[in-house]
């Protein structure tokens, strides 16, 4: 009897617990609903509840989310920060924000105001939102395991100091940043002290400074992103164990603009990327043990500028096509390996028909050394004088670094 009683009691307790979990409330918010304000609905909700926000414009100042709830926008609700407030602050784990248009956040040089800011939380999902004209777009601070997916961020920055970054992460870990589109911010994606993060399929274009900018962010991977026409291209600094694959870097034009600026990057992997129409596709400084494999460099001013502070880098199976200069360097000491690349400027022959040129290729021309020292000399490029210099230097190298050479230049371009 006691057994049976305890069994019934246990069942009923179990059912009550389950029903409590299943009956997480759904709260509707909208002009024609009981709840007209998102703030009030958030106050009503318990952790695990879902808020369905219907279309309309919500001007509620700062919406502070302190519970693990799900916010879903239906028919495009607009949250307007009225150029004064931070529209959404997330201060709890397990929050989802999906399907909103968030615009006009406040601007401040004291606090970093963002369209959506995540404060020290875990497992937050920001998905399918449109962020328009915010100071910072999506800001993650001290957060873990968050997902930022398929958001459209657009800002109209005029000068670097008046605009924040699109997706900004600081001291975070294991973020996933996928499929976002970032236009017109300061940096498209900015990561500082961020680890184990995946950045994939994003488009970052026409930002004022860098398309992608990271520092001290180890063990991150960047796949299939496109960085186009940003003020100064992509800059990555002071970082170990980076993987960059299948990205496209294009149209980063200007003297201080780089397709990819590598400063103090070590033990990293750059593979299958495409560099098109950049003034300098890759600029390397103080970078060691970086593998640059199977990339395509096309129509760039300089494909790679490699400073003598770089050591033990390997360049293999890259295609260099129709660049003004393939390689430039600032000195004679070369401690990097160039092996088995395709150079369209190679003039050697392949007698044994094994697909590998029989004489080594020296990718640094005398003129590129001159331009490095006297930039104005560019005025004389392709003049007969300069061609003559380059030819004679090729036959008797004296000024160009003799050791910088590819011993196994490919006769045909690598199929990528």
């Amino acid at each position: 009897m006691r057994n049976r009683l305890s069994f019934v009691w246990r069942i009923s307790v179990g059912l009550w617990v389950i029903s409590g979990a299943v009956h997480a409330k759904t709260i509707e918010v909208g002009q024609r609903q009981a709840n007209k304000s998102i703030q009030a609905a958030v106050a009503l909700a318990n952790p695990g509840d879902t808020l369905i926000v219907h279309g309309g414009i919500y001007q509620e100042g700062n919406i502070n989310i302190t519970k693990g709830i799900v916010l879903i926008g239906k028919d495009g609700p607009v949250i307007d920060g009225q150029h004064k407030y931070e529209p959404i602050s997330i201060r709890a784990s397990d929050v989802t924000v999906q399907g909103f248009t968030i615009k006009n956040s406040g601007q401040s040089s004291m606090v970093d105001m963002a369209g959506i800011k995540i404060y020290n939380s875990s497992r937050v999902t920001i998905q399918d939102n449109i962020l328009d004209n915010n100071f910072f777009g999506i800001y993650s601070q001290g957060s873990k395991n968050c997902l930022i997916k398929n958001n459209r961020l657009r800002a109209y920055g005029k000068a670097e100091q008046y605009i924040g970054n699109g997706i900004h992460a600081w001291k975070s870990d294991s973020l996933t940043i996928v499929g976002n589109e970032i236009i017109g911010h300061r940096d498209g994606i900015y990561l500082e002290f961020v680890t184990h993060t995946q950045v994939e399929d994003n488009l970052s274009s026409n930002n004022l400074r860098y398309g992608l900018h990271f520092m001290f962010s180890h063990n991150n991977a960047y796949y299939s992103n496109t960085f186009r026409a940003n003020g100064a291209g992509v800059a990555v600094m002071y970082t170990k164990h980076v993987r960059m694959e299948r990205n496209i870097f294009e149209e980063n034009w200007g003297d201080a603009a780089y397709g990819l600026l590598l400063k103090d990057i070590t033990d990293s992997h750059i593979q299958h990327n495409i560099f098109v129409k950049n003034t300098t596709a890759i600029f390397m400084e103080g970078s060691n043990r970086v593998q640059i494999l199977e990339n395509r460099f096309e129509n760039n001013g300089w494909a790679i500028k490699i400073m003598t502070s770089c050591m033990d880098n390997t360049l293999t199976k890259n295609n260099f096509v129709q660049n003004t200069f393939d390689i430039a360097t600032n000195g004679g000491r070369i401690a990097n390996t160039f092996d088995g690349n395709y150079w369209d400027k190679y003039e050697g022959y392949d007698l044994d028909k094994n697909g590998i040129g029989d004489v080594p290729h020296h990718p640094v021309s005398l003129f590129s050394m001159l331009v490095e020292r006297y930039p104005t000399v560019m005025l004389l490029f392709r003049s007969f004088m300069v061609t003559l210099f380059d030819r004679s230097e090729k036959m008797f190298p004296s000024l160009t670094p003799e050791k910088l050479k590819d011993d196994k230049p490919l006769m045909k371009s690598v199929i990528l």
Binding site: G254, D255, G301, Q322, M378, L380, R382, S383, M385
Partner: protein
Amino acid sequence: MNNKIVKYVITDLLRNRTIVGYTVLLLALSLGIFMMEDNADKSIASLLHVVLFVVPLVSIIFSTIYLYNSAEFIALLVSQPLKRQSIWFSIFLGLGAVMLLSFFIGVGVPTLLYASSPSGLMLIAGGLLLSLIFVSIALWTAVRIRDKSKGIGLAIILWLYFALIFDALLLFLLFQFADYPIENIMIGISMLNPIDITRILILLEIDLSAMMGYTGAIFREFFGTGGGMSLTLIVMLLWIAIPVGLSVRYFKRKDL
């Protein structure tokens, strides 16, 4: 101007073996380059050397020789009741038209067929202008110097100067004054050489990415704007007009 003289000079030149050879050479070179190279911009870069080197050379040397060879014909024309000015202009027009035609058939048509891009069009325009400029310079040397061998010598020296020596001087200047902001002065100095102007204009098309660097940006700011472009065109036209004008003035007073 006298249409009959222009027509005569043109028909005379069209039968000339050198002109036919020049056209065929240009045609073979450009077709060869375009067929071997699948990247259009790279072919333009190769053709650039032909345009900057061969076209001025042939234009100036051939025109000089032609003028000396027709000295008796010119003397005959002068004895007729014709204005000296119109005789000289007609010869210039005839020579210029034939050189333009040769260049257009030799380089222009293949370029239009294979690479009618902005860089290709710039190459054609540059080549056409260079042809006329060097015919015009030839007119001036031929009228100034009576002795044929000396005249041809001067033509060769002038060509060497524009094609090679000028750039060497420019390079020397650049190294000497590398520490100063000389970019704008350099644009000014490069205007003194039509070959350099053409080269820089084409450079801005085919090496655009590199020219967006800081020095290049200065050139681009100048040549890329409507004002800079029209100024450049005016300078090129002056390069045609001034030598012809000078030679006409001299020819009017010349004791034949």
